[in-house]
């Protein structure tokens, strides 16, 4: 269906017209979706095909733009039906009242607490877990006695419904209650006393005692969250003042998280956190908790272990539990158990990847040899080995809310002129010998240049975890250090040794070797590199680039695309002559209302993102967009119904556009009032511009993956 010629990847505004002729064309289905922000991609791959969501929204009485409609009629329809919220950011009235109604109905009828427990269900097939794939379980601890009942349910129809429920609110209400007929098979197996009675599942609300209503309610909650933005605001208050500077993790934030050390699972404030992460051993001994003191949380860790081990003993694996707003995601990595409990509405696959990265960070510090300790002694206590690394974990978790690398699995480069980058690469290449495995020049998490030994390649996730490890450890900043590290994607079993030295406050040189006694040799290498960079003024170029900051959408070329807030009839192609060109003032985004974009080059495993600039300056706005990108990205990748390679979504906060090809992936956010045709034109220009600037924006010289 997709055009296979990479050179012809022009995102054509006339798709709208084309589609009238070819309504079945899947890759160009646009949907106006009001409720984007939170929920529709919640289950990971459950974002509906755009055409379906349109249909459903139609059914729900919300107006949508017809697939094949051209610009004029799209605008006309928008005006006629009031789809676009011109009163931005005032939330839509309709969904909210609806939500209230459903909620009050459910709460009124409630007498118990319900948890949805999915043992694999709708998530994409996990290799090596085939036996559990088809199985879908539901579990419902009742709040009164807090028992953990496990019920087997092999209802493929239920799965289907689950996938759809987020967008199809109305339908799931009836459909789910009619399809799910769950009888308890076993009863009273694990007492999840500390989990429920002690209130750790803070999101527990009295729900009606019917599975159908629960599922619907979580969907309804999503609508609520997306329509009023309440969720994200609360969370930001707790954690995220650190988005002020895109790259730099402020010490203040780490300090903020430190403050929570005195909490435990009985404290109100602990339960209010939006996102918890836990690492524990398979014996139930706590290893790490984002909030609270691990020892005080020993009982809670034991509860998690009991639940996970119980399911494991049945030859199954617990993947996640949903309870109201909360998702509990489990990941078993041998003797190490990882759990996240969040009410952030992030897609499941995103949360799972975060747990994966958390595990990777653990391996980076200790290598997989830690598993041997558990084989020898199941009661092994890992905590002492992790002494002093809390910052590494908390900064990693923090970066899950601002660093695109956390979900793109790519790295980004510091923008630098091609010649300067080549010179930096030459400096690194110059010292390459058999001792050296990798040499990296980083500016925070941005790569300036890197060199790998023959055959060795550096995975983007390793770069991400390594740069987090280095930048979150204060002690590296002022001295030259030699530290054992493990690059889990390179070789998770062994320690390598990293020579780390900041050449200036923003530029960090990391030389990685297998020799534990290479410190002095690498120290000499560093002196040579530093001298060379100084001589060739590359160091100055780098500093200038750091000071200049990343790309800003206002500075992008292409100012001749019109942008007006009033909808106007216009056809693609006559932008230049028939409309007034509005040059935007700085401070309201870029051309045609472009606010932000990410361009990911697939074959380089690199991405480039613009800086968050006005009006995305508040932490709330940044985080909202970050989460929206996350969901969008998950939906162009993980959808079980096939990837949606092109998406256009509009809600009260912004217009989002996603475009995925075999060469690149492009995500962009526009002013919610931006016109579709002009935003598409701008996207084409930005993509073209990025390709033109490839040499400056990406590290191309020696792609580490082409050695």
């Amino acid at each position: 269906m997709r055009e296979s010629d990479p050179s012809d990847k022009e995102l054509n505004s006339e798709n709208n017209d084309l589609q009238t002729e070819n309504p079945g064309s899947q890759d160009v289905s646009f949907a106006y979706q009001q409720t984007f922000d939170a929920k529709q991609a919640d289950d990971g791959p459950c974002s509906l095909p755009s055409h379906l969501s349109e249909k459903e929204l139609d059914n729900n009485g919300s107006s949508t733009c017809d697939n094949g409609v051209n610009i004029e009629s799209a605008d006309a329809q928008r005006e006629a039906t009031g789809l676009t919220t011109f009163e931005f950011p005032v939330p839509e009235e309709g969904p909210q009242t609806y939500v209230k109604k459903v909620k009050s109905e459910l709460e009124g009828a409630s007498d118990g607490n319900q948890t949805e427990y999915n043992s694999d269900g709708i998530e994409e097939p996990d290799p090596g877990d085939t036996n559990a794939n088809a199985e879908h379980r539901e579990c419902s601890p009742r709040v009164a006695n807090a028992q953990f009942n496990s019920q087997d349910k092999s209802d493929p129809k239920g799965n289907e419904i689950l996938e759809q429920r987020d967008t199809v609110v109305n339908r799931s209400l009836t459909a789910f209650s009619s399809t799910c007929n769950i009888e308890p098979v076993e009863s009273s197996i694990i007492r999840v006393q500390s989990a429920v009675e002690n209130g750790n599942m803070e999101g527990h609300r009295p729900y009606a005692d019917s599975e159908g209503k629960i599922a619907s309610l979580s969907a309804v909650d999503g609508v609520a969250a997306s329509s009023n933005g309440r969720e994200s605001f609360e969370e930001i208050e707790v954690v995220d003042s650190g988005l002020v500077k895109n790259g730099g993790l402020l010490k203040r934030d780490l300090f903020l998280e430190k403050q929570h050390q005195s909490e435990d699972d009985s404290s109100e404030s602990w339960r209010k956190h939006k996102k918890h992460f836990f690492i524990l051993s398979h014996a139930g001994k706590p290893i790490y908790s984002r909030y609270g003191d691990e020892h005080k949380l020993a009982g809670f860790a034991a509860t998690l272990q009991a639940i996970m081990s119980f399911v494991e003993n049945g030859g199954d694996r617990i993947n996640y539990v949903r309870s109201g707003d909360h998702q509990v995601v489990f990941l078993v990595k041998g003797p190490v158990y990882l759990v996240s409990i969040s009410s952030t509405n992030e897609p499941l696959r995103v949360l799972r990847r975060q747990l994966d990265l958390l595990h990777g960070q653990l391996l980076l510090i200790l290598t997989r040899s830690l598993e041997k300790c558990f084989v020898k002694n199941a009661n092994f206590d890992l905590r002492p080995l992790l002494g002093g690394t809390e910052n590494v974990f908390s900064s990693l978790i923090h970066s899950f809310s601002w660093n695109f690398a956390s979900f793109l699995s790519s790295y980004t480069c510091l923008p630098l002129s091609h010649t300067a980058r080549q010179a930096a690469g030459a400096a690194l290449q110059d010292i390459a010998d058999k001792n050296l495995l990798f040499a990296l020049l980083l500016s925070d998490s941005k790569v300036i240049s890197l060199v790998g030994a023959q055959k060795a390649s550096l995975h983007p996730d390793d770069i991400f975890l390594l740069s987090n490890f280095v930048s979150s450890s204060e002690s590296f900043r002022n001295t030259e250090s030699f530290s054992p590290i493990c690059l889990p994607k390179y070789n998770s079993m062994t320690f390598l040794y990293a020579y780390i030295r900041y050449l200036d406050p923003d530029i960090c040189l990391i030389l990685i070797t297998k020799n534990s006694d290479a410190f002095f040799h690498l120290k000499d290498c560093r002196a040579r590199i530093e001298g060379f960079l100084m001589e060739t003024h590359v160091l100055r170029d780098i500093s200038n680039s750091v000071a200049r900051g990343g790309l800003r959408v206002e500075e992008l070329p292409g100012g001749d695309v019109s942008y007006t807030s009033a909808p106007r009839s216009r056809r693609m192609g006559d932008t230049k002559d028939s409309t007034i060109t509005v040059k935007l003032k700085a401070g309201v985004g870029g051309t045609a209302g472009l606010w932000h974009f990410i361009y990911r080059c697939v074959y380089l495993d690199q991405y480039v993102a613009s800086e968050f600039s006005s009006p995305l300056e508040t932490p709330q706005a940044k985080k909202r967009l970050f989460r929206a990108y996350q969901s969008l990205y998950a939906s162009i990748h993980g959808a079980p119904t096939g990837a949606h390679q092109m998406q256009y979504r509009r809600d009260g906060n912004f217009v989002l556009l996603a475009w995925s090809t075999s060469d690149f992936e492009f995500l962009a956010a526009f002013d919610p009032l931006a016109e579709k045709s002009s935003s598409i034109t701008v996207c084409n220009r930005v993509c073209q511009w990025v390709r033109d600037m490839e040499n400056d924006l990406f590290f191309i010289g020696g792609s580490p993956f082409n050695w």
């Binding site: 197996i189 272990q305 009991a306 003993n313 558990f374 790519s410």
Partner: protein
């Protein structure tokens, strides 16, 4: 990092249903006792911080259900225990006889690395009942059994009257701590760069 020197001990409490496992734990952790019997379902978890000599110890106490039907949970619960506390009711002969089963079952399921020296503890509970007149298992008999199983420390307790509870748990912590392995130097594998197999897959599957 202040918490670095703290040790966490996983303590499993086993014994027939109704011998007073939960009551003992409640008395120890919460200083509370209730005459009302409430069967434990699966397991309860409590933590208590104690000072043993100069060490700060967090006891993670796993109070398990005594009923037969929960026995299948064994592996999940027993894994990685630092000490196993066996409780019986001095007024019920059967609960004493079953201690052998509980101990064997634990050793099978938990498979500790050094079963010979794994720290157990036996508590004969409910010595307060009827002023001791209704007891059917004598202290001597219990002590003999303990000696025969490798000199397991033995305490007679009353959760109701808080007799010997603190002492017993203090001893549990001490014994479990003693059994902790001296920390070995953490030494992962070394890498041979010349072999090409060191490289794990670097392809991105996202």
């Amino acid at each position: 990092m202040a918490s670095r020197k703290r040790t966490l001990l996983k303590i499993i409490i086993l014994g027939d249903s109704g011998v007073g496992k939960t009551s003992l734990m409640n008395q120890y952790v919460n200083k509370k006792f209730s005459t009302q019997y409430k069967a434990t379902i699966g397991a309860d978890f409590l933590t208590k911080e104690v000072q043993v000599d100069d060490k700060l110890v967090t006891m993670q106490i796993w109070d398990t259900a005594g009923q037969e039907r929960f026995q299948s949970l064994g592996v999940a619960f027993y894994r990685g225990a630092d000490c196993c506390v066996l409780v019986y009711d001095v007024n019920v002969a059967k609960s004493f006889e079953n201690l052998t089963n509980w101990r064997d079952e634990f050793l099978i399921q938990a498979s500790p690395s050094d079963p010979e020296n794994f720290p157990f503890m036996v508590l004969g509970n409910k010595i307060d009942i009827d002023g001791g007149n209704s007891r059917v298992v004598s202290e001597k008999k219990a002590k003999n059994w303990c000696v025969s199983k490798g000199d397991i420390p033995y305490f007679e307790t009353s959760a109701k009257e808080d007799r010997n509870v603190e002492v017993a748990f203090q001893r549990i912590a001490k014994d479990a701590l003693k059994n902790q392995k001296d920390e070995e130097i953490y030494l992962p594998d070394t890498i041979d760069l010349s072999s090409s197999s060191t490289q794990s897959s670097s392809s991105c599957s996202c």
